[in-house]
Subunit: 358 residues, 2 copies
């Protein structure tokens, strides 16, 4: 972190400088969508300054209503939190009182670890040989399970489960336990509605789906996420919240302003696909394999190279990417960013590979 | 709530209309400081729109550093959350694993109730005859206690404990359990530093102090609060958080921009004192007693009148105040607002009192 004096903090430019990557640095480590916030969301954030002194009561209710209406449900099917981390952690903690948490070995396990710090027992299911979540294996393994969780598309693999097979799994598993599907990257897939399990909530299955404004909506810093589930499960989620209002006026207003902005979502998706093509071409040109991605990140096979060494070497060249995941020591995740950022990644690929192979 | 169409939601003005009280309505129920956000905080919120797509990593760390520096402590003495509700609930949940929560009968019990939903056992200590928190009684009663909590100044009474006596209590109680002092209204008192227990943290006592940007700083809707305590207690607090980042760029930037703004704080305090004088004069003119307040709200003795009936009658006249607290059926809390708002309260007092006394 750069040293910042107190005086400098009064300058909005310095705060922006602290939030954004330094000039020339490509930040490709956090699955953010730097194409956002949308123009309407930006205007809403700016305007929120005038009512920042007011508690969020009404706008908070309105966002819950808007999400419920969009999915043909009532607000008792919706829980909101600051990013989806909150609702994910809350449900995991709640469910852990009834049994262990069954989850893939490789997925976004941050909120399960948060629940573990509060006493949850975690059970990890190995991936299949092609890195997919082994939902058949998980279904068989449900026993004394309080919750079974998948992320779809998965992070860091970018893999999407076949929706028909996932739906079968959810219906069968929901007869035995609560099924949690984290759909943080749903809107980036080719068929968001077809890939979503929200319809199972409408049908009354014990399924919970989480979504976020942090990804395609480009609002990672504004902290708005939500869960859609049955009223019984939503009640459990709310039981474990840590305050009435974890969300904020700027974020709620931004979310309300861009939730239905199909034009922005379409253009964001195009940006992401264009960036992904540039990275894929670069990886191929350098002889690297990767897992075909349905998201705004790619899990790259580095062959014999160590992903942490690769991360450090890239960082020295001003490209920030993610380090090693668990025991996948030879796989590296790169997120899509601005086109200039992903081009910088690609330009540095041959240099870093050469250096590490020497 | 007003009906809002989807199209209207794209208009920032409508979001403001939803957040602010309707024209002509005096909103005096939530201890907000409508004089905020400060000009610097407003600019920071507006600017945050440009980096709303970025996770809060750096600005988050900077805010923790700024708070630590101000109190002569290191960042492992600081926990941040979305408003102080988060850290208050987290510590209460954590401590409840070791014993019950000992607390006053009348205080801001929202976060204790949140912990209760997660299994905490609560034990309430009656106030003294003059509505004060009975810290002598609480000290004697500590037994199997995981945490003892006070709010100072207290909400809804507005009473301030004598700092020397409170300090003695904290030191003695901290030998037996964790002592939590919620100082949400500290900056509104005449001597904020003298009334604070933060120095006990510096001396290594098992004391935790919570503070918020929701009150004097006028940032209730931006959700920034914090706790200052020993590294051991802060670790417990963090163990029970529900996500890495519950705070948001707009709020963090606003907090960074106004934390040291003594001029704004001074002017806010003057606004509050002026409003308080108007309300006190109005209460006296109408023959009503009240508890002398050290905060931005007043607890009014309605005599034989019921506080819920009083609230409803005031609401019908466009004045929103708080309803009954527990079994204090004849006491009513009114918060300070804009001067026009408190004048509206005072103007309506004789009419409402007359109507209810008939």
């Amino acid at each position: 972190m750069q040293p910042i004096t107190s005086n400098a903090l009064e300058s909005a430019e310095s705060l922006a400088a602290l939030a954004e990557p330094a000039p020339g640095v490509a930040k490709l480590n956090a699955n953010e969508n730097p194409f956002g916030p949308s123009p309407a969301a930006k205007r809403a954030i700016e305007e929120s300054a005038t009512y920042g002194s007011r508690y969020i009561t009404n706008n908070f209710k309105r966002l819950a209503e808007m999400i419920a209406e969009r999915h043909g449900l009532t607000t008792d099917h919706v829980a909101l939190s600051a990013g989806s981390s909150g609702v994910l952690t809350q449900l995991t903690v709640a469910a852990s009182r009834n049994g262990h948490i069954l989850m893939p070995n490789l997925f976004w396990d941050t909120t399960c670890k948060a629940a573990e710090r509060q006493g949850a027992k975690l059970e990890r299911m190995p991936q299949t040989q092609d890195f997919a979540i082994d939902i058949d294996g998980m279904l068989e393994r449900i026993d004394g399970t309080g919750l079974v969780q998948v992320t779809n598309p998965n992070n860091p693999t970018g893999l999407l489960l076949d929706p028909a097979r996932l739906r079968q799994f959810c219906i069968a598993a929901a007869k035995k336990t609560i099924v949690l599907v984290d759909e943080a990257y749903n809107e980036i897939t080719e068929d968001p509605d077809g890939n979503s399990m929200v319809d199972l909530v409408r049908d009354g299955h014990s399924v919970a789906v989480s979504r976020t404004f942090s990804k395609i909506y480009g609002l990672a810093g504004m902290r708005i996420g939500y869960m859609i589930s049955t009223p019984e499960i939503i009640e459990k989620v709310e039981q474990y919240n840590i305050g009435n209002y974890v969300m904020n006026q700027a974020g709620i207003s931004a979310a309300l302003a861009c939730y239905e902005d199909e034009d922005f979502i379409k253009r964001s998706r195009q940006e992401i696909l264009e960036a992904r093509q540039i990275v894929e071409d670069g990886l191929k040109a350098n002889g690297l394999d990767y897992i075909p991605s349905h998201t705004n990140f790619i899990f790259v096979n580095l062959g014999t190279l160590n992903a942490e060494n690769f991360r450090v070497a890239m960082k020295e060249r001003g490209v920030i990417i993610h380090g090693i995941y668990r025991d996948y020591t030879h796989y590296s995740r790169v997120s899509m960013g601005r086109l200039a950022d992903v081009r910088k990644y690609v330009e540095n690929l041959p240099k870093v590979l050469d250096a590490l192979r020497q």
